[in-house]
Symmetry: C2
Subunit: 306 residues, 2 copies
């Protein structure tokens, strides 16, 4: 199985401990507990030749966190020590008082430089922090919500409503469409010049994965898809997608572009794709970096034999 960037967390999520309020209270005071602060969805990173997560102890954070701060329990490490994420949105932009410990850096930018496993820990943390911010009020009645179960549940504070909200994960299909010796790549209107990737889109309510693949490819490129084969999946914490990677066999050739979504869609040969993956000087387009499942799907197809 492929382990993609943002998957492969070394932590044990220890979900049964989320509801154990005594355990959580003790863990928040324990000297072995480590916390990673986020500011505007950026994790604190200790930079240098080998950048790493700037894990802090509770004491390092006492001046910054108030009693109401929401600690998000990420799990326990191999030694059994608790790991948390904490959001510190109130810091001033110019002088965050944590700067002696590290720098707040965009996760997507820093992920490739981090040690194995670290991107997955930060992916879990970033998705949960973004979800808390988007679930501060009850969607059903508008009352404020409060955190519960160590940051893995929010409850409406209006007793007559009492709605519960669980962390949101958005399934996305991402598919390398192929026919014979060619595959289909597209460029979003948001992509940099010359950049092409696999087609993708959110799964909608009331459809299976394979149906979602066929609908998206037909919508975006006007191509009919037959067989769909699941390849692998990747958590994508911007803010909380689950990328479901597939290989999809086209049954038609003529492209009709959805101009609302895409700038261009084109068939490329296996050789052209190999050149782009290798970053060859002759390649006339570029493809996603290794951290993206799109590139892994391209590689899987380009290198398959027969």
């Amino acid at each position: 199985m492929d382990v993609h960037t943002f998957a492969g967390s070394p932590l044990d999520r220890a979900a049964h401990l989320r509801r154990d309020t005594d355990w959580q209270a003790a863990a928040l005071r324990a000297p072995t507990t480590r916390m990673v602060p986020f500011w505007r969805l950026k994790p604190l990173i200790r930079e240098g030749d080998a950048p790493r997560i700037a894990w802090l102890g509770a004491d390092d954070l006492t001046d910054i966190l108030d009693a109401e701060a929401a600690h998000i329990f990420l799990g326990v490490d191999e030694s059994g020590a608790a790991r948390y994420a904490v959001d510190v949105p109130g810091l001033s932009e110019d002088s965050p008082p944590l700067t002696q410990s590290g720098t707040f850096i965009d996760l997507r930018a820093i992920a490739p430089a981090l040690p194995e496993g670290a991107p997955a820990i930060l992916a879990q943390a970033r998705s949960l922090i973004a979800w808390h911010a988007r679930t501060a009020f009850c969607g059903a009645c508008g009352a404020p919500t409060r955190t519960d179960e160590a940051g893995h549940l929010r409850r409406c504070t209006d007793a007559s409503c009492d709605a519960q909200y669980f962390p949101r994960v958005d399934p996305v299909v991402i598919m390398l469409v192929y026919r014979g010796e060619r595959c289909l790549l597209g460029r979003s209107t948001r992509f940099p010049a010359g950049f092409y990737s696999a087609l993708a889109g959110f799964v909608e309510p009331g459809e299976a994965i394979e149906e979602s693949v066929r609908r998206e490819v037909l919508e975006e490129a006007g191509i009919t898809v037959g067989a769909v084969c699941y390849h692998s999946s990747q958590p994508w914490p911007f803010p909380a997608s689950l990328m479901i990677g597939c290989l999809a066999e086209a049954e038609s050739d003529a492209i009709t572009i959805d101009a609302h979504e895409l700038d261009d869609v084109r068939w490329v040969s296996r050789d052209e794709l190999m050149a782009a993956l290798d970053g060859a000087p002759g390649a006339d387009f570029s493809v996603p970096p290794p951290l993206a499942i799109a590139r892994q799907l391209m590689t899987a197809w380009a290198k398959e034999t027969g």
Copy 2:
């Protein structure tokens, strides 16, 4: 590929028409347009020997729907006619004025009796209606939201917030765990007596499908899983899950039950499972009905050879 109940909609979702306000306005007045009302998440069904969706024309609904009613565009049928779902929560419980057209019936109960394709249409509709009710207010700021894009988007009405909300789909892993000639079944504390099914659980932020399978099986049954193989997927509109069905190979035998989630977990032989699937008089447990992907996973494993 398996087409499960609640998948296989015959409608073209025609997503590009959601933003076409002129087209939508015309469709809402067109005599060919058909709408299915929902009351408390139950669709209107025309009963009889062959139950079917009670599709109504806009004229049938004029006395019931006010100008603010949210029509949810489901797509177009083979003739090009628009299909909508409409929520009529304000009807009185005792005398809904639509009863001459049909009966509001629980979708899960009626689905097996409906013609092919109908459960998928109602799955899409039910998930969207439930999502609208849970997204009436902005989670970020608490202001009311309003519907847009023919029921496929909600926007915060506070201009300084302007948050957008897309329909939620919750990915769930559901896995038949096997080892040699035995497979692992569990019974939730919520199941009827004697009923066993495949293990399942929500995918969490920051994990791939295969990781989610391994975590859930370890949490719920204490069993270590190695290889995970995707089988098929099913939309499950209660309220909006995407069931991701897998076969998962166990690497350990000793069961430790998570008593918070499950009443019992047991290994059963292929023969025992076949007897339960056949509803044999000797079977000492029962399994889910054909509409559940759990049963399809059980059947796939039970009937595989070698």
